[in-house]
């Protein structure tokens, strides 16, 4: 590492502060921060809280881009504070604000309760008619790699709310279900173990849901985990259109296979990998 890389530099950090007991609306407060190579926005906020202003409030937990607690608006873009290095964003001025399209509880802490309520509405779990199999499965639900890849991408969602903060439809419509909940609905609908399309259809196909999305693509562009909610929403629309035109093929949900069931293995033996060296 070059010497200049480890040198500190002073940058101006504008943090949007809001105290519910005294403020009517958020105000930007300027802090000077000595930034070094590798320092994340979350590190910077901790440094300011420790050395300049202990009243600064922000939400965080894992510090490694897994929990989704620290999403905030960093220089105008929704990002995870723990996953964003300050010098990757700026070397002069940094503006940190709470996620838009959510109410602000205090300083950089958004109220994510509406996000989670909408998530619950889409039944974000495997729905099956054979309840006993869900409670005490008689075996494993074995999926092929092709079945897995259909929903794998959408399982990486950490519910940080960055997609909703970037969504222009959510900006003007508080009741819009939002990219996170819709992508999660599709994640379960496309799962071969699930049989809940019809129970979710009334929620995702209703007003203020998938058909309010006109593909701005911002949710996918800002997602810190590459979940691509915009893709899931378009696929969901296709499923709903197919269902409306009676063209949606209903396949029975995957059945559990008992651990001692050898019958399938006889029919479809595991493929032998090709030799990697000359015999």
């Amino acid at each position: 590492m070059k010497r200049q890389d480890v040198q500190e530099r002073i940058i101006s950090v504008y943090i949007h502060r809001f105290d519910p007991t005294s403020d009517k609306k958020p105000r930007a407060v300027l802090y000077e921060l000595a930034v070094e190579q590798g320092m994340t926005v979350l590190d910077g906020l901790h440094r300011i809280k420790e050395t300049q202003d202990p009243t600064l409030a922000f939400r965080f937990s894992c510090r490694m881009g897994v929990c989704g607690s620290c999403a905030m608006l960093i220089n105008g873009k929704p990002m995870l504070a723990c996953n964003t290095q300050i010098l990757d964003v700026t070397d002069k001025a940094l503006t940190v604000a709470p996620l838009p399209n959510f109410r602000v509880v205090r300083d950089l802490v958004p109220d994510l309760a509406p996000l989670f309520k909408k998530h619950v509405q889409v039944n974000p779990y495997i729905v099956r008619t054979d309840g006993h199999e869900m409670e005490s499965p008689s075996g494993e639900f074995i999926q092929t790699p092709e079945e897995l890849i259909k929903y794998l991408q959408f399982t990486y969602c950490i519910k940080c709310g960055a997609c909703v903060a970037a969504c222009p439809t959510a900006a003007t419509d508080e009741n819009y279900l939002g990219p996170m909940a819709l992508a999660q609905a599709y994640r379960y609908i496309v799962d071969s173990r699930d049989d809940g399309f019809h129970s979710r259809k009334s929620v995702v196909g209703a007003d203020k849901a998938v058909f309010n999305c006109h593909y701005a693509g911002e949710c996918s562009a800002v997602c810190p985990k590459g979940v691509d909610p915009a893709r899931a929403i378009q696929f969901m629309k296709r499923e709903l259109v197919r269902d409306y035109l009676l063209m949606r093929r209903h396949t029975a949900p995957l059945k559990a296979r008992a651990l001692n069931d050898k019958s399938k293995e006889k029919k479809t033996p595991l493929p032998v990998p090709p030799y990697t060296v000359d015999r």
Binding site: G76, D111, A166, P168, A216, E218, Q234, F235, K237
Partner: protein
């Protein structure tokens, strides 16, 4: 939590233009909405203007004379712009919303390649086709028709 005193932070119409990564699709989204509203306004005015027929030939002639102003020619050009963009982008949206042109679900590996990049050629084609239609409409309106 929602019952506590909190600050509303919804971006409103400003959120059509800001708050994300400023990809071109966001602006296409905003222009699509604005042109949709513009075309709706035009339709309302057009129905009102056409309804002048019921008051007889003299009223209709006066209405036509009033509308034969360069300002309305400019307005007509705005309608061509709105219509060209809204129609072609509408086709793109129908195509995308049926699940075409957004690629297949993949395992997200950094750097992520999302459906936004996959459909980008379509968005560029919308801009080019709209520009061609607008140019053709403008030539017809300002150079051929007079």
């Amino acid at each position: 939590m929602t019952d506590n005193k909190t600050s509303g932070n919804r971006l409103g119409v400003k959120g059509w233009f800001a708050g994300g990564r400023w990809g071109m699709e966001r602006y296409i989204y905003a222009i699509h909405r604005l042109t949709g509203l513009g075309l709706l306004l035009f339709l309302t005015i057009h129905i009102f203007e056409s309804s002048m027929r019921i008051y007889g030939a003299p009223v209709w002639e006066r209405t036509m004379a009033f509308l034969d102003h360069p300002l309305f020619a400019a307005g007509e050009f705005l309608i061509i712009i709105g219509f060209a963009f809204h129609a072609i982008n509408g086709l793109r949206l129908v195509f995308l919303e049926l699940g075409f042109g957004v690629g297949k679900a993949i395992e997200p590996v950094y750097p992520y390649r999302t459906s936004v990049q996959v459909q980008r050629p379509l968005a560029i084609a919308v801009m080019i086709l709209s520009a061609l239609l607008i140019a053709a409409g403008g030539i017809d309106l300002f150079f051929i028709r007079p």
